[in-house]
């Protein structure tokens, strides 16, 4: 399945793109996605562990199972306000 991922702020800057997609096996989890991101974008390796992953606009744990239609975002530590 193809999972589309949005990147923001420092994650977008380090990866050099605001959005990308990954080909993952059916049943892949957020943990699997994290591994795929680091493999494709080594510039995110030291940064991604500090980021949360959002699925359908809510924070998702690493064991969350992904599906193709979900909206996925890489959320660096937030600093609004």
């Amino acid at each position: 399945m193809i999972v589309w991922v949005k990147l923001f702020a420092a994650a977008r800057q380090r990866a050099g793109t605001p959005a990308t997609n990954f080909s993952l096996a059916e049943g892949a989890t957020v943990r699997d996605l994290r591994a795929a991101i680091v493999q494709e974008y080594p510039t995110l390796a030291d940064f991604l562990p500090h980021c949360r992953i959002a699925v359908d606009r809510d924070f998702a744990p690493d064991d969350h199972v992904l599906t193709e239609t979900q909206e996925v975002g890489i959320i660096p530590p937030v600093s609004g306000g």
Binding site: A9, Q13, R14, D46, E71, V78, G80, G81
Partner: protein, 143 residues
């Protein structure tokens, strides 16, 4: 009322939105761009966000605040884009029959927004360098 805006925040409009005949207290909090951080001088700030999720999260927080305190109105406006020193990046106005609830809700809202709402701030330092702010993480600096 929840809004993300790109223009300067109109605080009078926010206070008008929080006004209510049963209100005994209206608390307005403004987060403003600070010139000095740990001795370093900021020239300006840039904010970006994940708008769809930021709106969802802000609505959730409004709902939670209304469940915790007897609020009459809850207004949160966050500004995005480029901000100069002393400009407001966020305005929170809450009204309630009595002051304690308004003070508590306002403080809880700004503290929680800073933890869970996907909005990011980049410092443009006076020395020409730029840096994403990642509070409390000890993260390596973005280039």
């Amino acid at each position: 009322m929840i809004q993300l805006v790109h223009e300067p925040i109109d605080t009078q409009a926010i206070l008008a939105a929080a006004a209510h005949p049963h209100a005994g207290a209206v608390v307005l909090f403004l987060g403003v761009t600070r010139q000095l951080t740990a001795g370093r001088e900021t020239e300006s700030l840039d904010y970006e966000c994940y708008p769809e999720m930021a709106i969802c999260k802000l609505r959730e927080l409004e709902e939670q605040a209304r469940a915790k305190w007897p609020l009459l109105h809850c207004v949160v406006v966050h500004r995005l884009g480029h901000l100069e020193i002393s400009e407001a990046s966020i305005a929170i106005a809450v009204s309630s029959p009595h002051r304690r609830a308004a003070f508590e809700a306002g403080q809880w809202l700004i503290d929680t927004i800073k933890e869970v709402v996907p909005i990011w701030k980049q410092e443009n330092w006076q020395d020409g360098s730029r840096e994403w702010v990642h509070p409390g993480t000890g993260l390596p600096k973005a280039t």
